[in-house]
Symmetry: C2
Subunit: 353 residues, 2 copies
DNA sequence: AATATTTGCACAAACGATTGTGATTACGTA
DNA sequence: TACGTAATCACAATCGTTTGTGCAAATATT
């Protein structure tokens, strides 16, 4: 190590000061240093003060790696999301970061790019980094969850958010998507619409099932029939939204309102509607889902359902902390369900409030 | 450790299998295991095969923490960005992640939220995690760079991207903002505009200085005077764009084109223009910067300058790898300058190509 | 055949922090 | 005075890898 001792280095000794350095300086053992810094009861107040003071003076920076190695787990939190662009996941991640930092954890973010294989690699990478916990939102195509057995059996706390494995009992924080679908559709009906269509997401994903179900709930409540022809399944892209909307417009009896399961898909629908010369919301009212940033830019601005993204991230971290706190009940399933909020804008507002 | 040995565990032995386990099984030393796995020349091919095979069979997962501790640096790359929402930084981060993963590094992402104090905390956190390198884009308000001395003197490779410390000699990958400002303004002039205004960013940030300078270059080339009244300084928000545009419209001789230093600010300008009953681009042509996603949504769609974000991320990682490779020349300054690309859309297109 | 060289592997000491156990001192009470 | 208790701190092992050095056997050189 040529670095050690060179005067060009920041640290006086030529290397980061360690507990051993503090110990030598103070004529005590590293045990005392370690315990003083972690406020252990077996260290006298006078000693603690001395240690703290010297640590500050020498600018001691704890080596988390060593600590992590010793106790078998780091202060790192692994996060896997499908992608990070767009408001939703970016905000969730932001919430995660805030809460994690506050609790003394750092966050490693991986993107699966909606690819299961990549998701598997991410999990491996994160486990390899000895993360203290894993916060995961599944890739769209993930239907097989074997790669999470590794995590569970290793004892690493695992929390899913938003996109959770269907039919598995896991720790999760999710939105009440059904309520979201309901309030959105209910709102469209309250605007006087009577043929409300739904552009749905992939059938196998629980969040889209929920939104669809909420849509059906609202129709039922109003005594309206559930017309299968009014439901278009999509893959949630803008292009899908365009295709779906064209299909719906081609119907013998086209809809007078559309509840889209996502904002991108709603955007596609909006563009087709405008291209077709239809007025929104006068001819067709439109509502999306997620409250993306661009809902404020479209003309008309897009009614959407806010998911309280940052809150979701914070809740996920809280759940992880709970899990980590009592590792005695690793099998207890925890669930947090957040309530959605309807943001009404011009795309659906026929009757000014 | 109650976990060790319980049959409920994933790993046969009740704990992750270590090199020691492999060594015991094969009757060799951990040295051999370590060297076999890293393909060291001093291990015979036969032994290597045996080790590799057993490692696969027992599903050996290296403990990166231990390795990092031993060699004094991890396979983690620290990234600090002002924020992660919006296309630009999200894409850069994506590029970073791709390149880093390919090189066997994991990425820790921190957001400074445009706050210097938070930026300082981030740096400390990342150094505490023993990152192998640091990739940083500065917070808007950062003008004092003392917190990076710590990094430099510790010998941790440091690469800035996009937002770099003005007047300091550092490793950086940046966009040729001057060229970006030039091609954008030049394009507006080519459309026949003669009074081109500029909504600029904070004066102290090099990227905005560059865009401004490029704007001036183009004017000069066309023999047009640089009218100070036509330059509005902003803080790059949408609201700033609205204010600036109003100011420009209030001029005795208002502009017939606007080159905005960012898309958000351009969006604000666009909305003011439309509210004022002016046609874009017929009355006022408009161009933004960054090629954000929403430039495709506005009406008319917004001309902008693409920064090749992912490329920037990849370049930053490459530079880090270079730096890490020959730590002998830690002081050699490296610079990569990416070329911008003008994306012409309806907001500036007066003469169809 | 004797010596020089290479090949293949083991020993053991790190890296820096944590922690169960035990030793020492000081204080209190009987 | 004698003994129990509490308060303080040190010893030493440990987490899993890496790596300089050393030793033996195998191969090559003369």
């Amino acid at each position: 190590m040529a670095r050690r001792g060179t005067s060009d280095d920041y640290f006086p000794g030529g290397a980061p000061v360690s507990m051993a350095d503090l110990a030598r300086e103070l004529g005590v053992s590293t045990t005392t240093i370690s315990r003083a810094l972690s406020d252990h009861h077996s260290i006298g107040p006078a000693t603690k003060q001395k240690v703290l003071k010297l640590a500050k003076k020498l600018n001691y920076q704890p080596n988390h790696l060593a600590a992590a190695l010793r106790r078998g787990q780091s202060r790192l939190l692994g996060v896997v999301v499908p992608y990070i662009e767009g408001r939703f996941f970016a905000s969730v991640v932001h919430g995660i970061e805030q809460a994690a930092t506050k609790a003394g954890y750092s966050v490693i973010i991986c993107q699966s790019s909606e690819d299961v294989a990549q998701e598997r690699r991410n999990i491996d990478t994160l486990l390899g980094a000895q993360v203290a916990g894993l916060l995961v939102s599944l890739a769209r195509e993930t239907r097989d969850f074997k790669h999470f057995d590794k995590v569970r059996k290793r004892g690493t706390p695992l929390v899913f958010f938003d996109r959770t494995p269907a039919g598995e009992s896991v720790n999760a924080v999710v939105l009440n998507d059904r309520a979201g679908g309901y309030i959105s559709t209910q709102h469209l009906l309250a605007q006087g619409c009577r043929r409300v269509a739904h552009i749905a997401g992939p059938r196998h994903m629980s969040i889209y099932q929920g939104r669809h179900q909420g849509y059906l709930d609202a129709l039922a409540e109003h005594g309206l029939p559930a017309d299968d022809a009014l439901v278009a399944y999509s893959n949630m892209t803008q292009g899908d939204g365009e295709r779906s909307m064209r299909d719906l417009l081609a119907l013998p009896n086209p809809p007078d309102a559309v509840f889209a399961a996502g904002d991108s898909v709603a955007l596609g629908a909006l563009q087709v509607l405008k291209a077709a010369g239809l007025r929104v919301p006068a001819d067709v009212a439109l509502a999306g889902f997620s409250n993306e940033g661009f809902t404020l830019i479209t003309e008309p601005r897009l009614t959407s359902v806010d998911q309280h993204c940052e809150e979701m991230g914070q809740a996920a971290v809280r759940m992880f902390l709970d899990l980590a706190a009592d590792a005695r009940h690793p099998s207890a399933q925890r669930q947090v369900v957040l309530q959605p909020e309807l943001i009404v804008r011009e795309s659906s507002l026929r009757r000014p409030a």
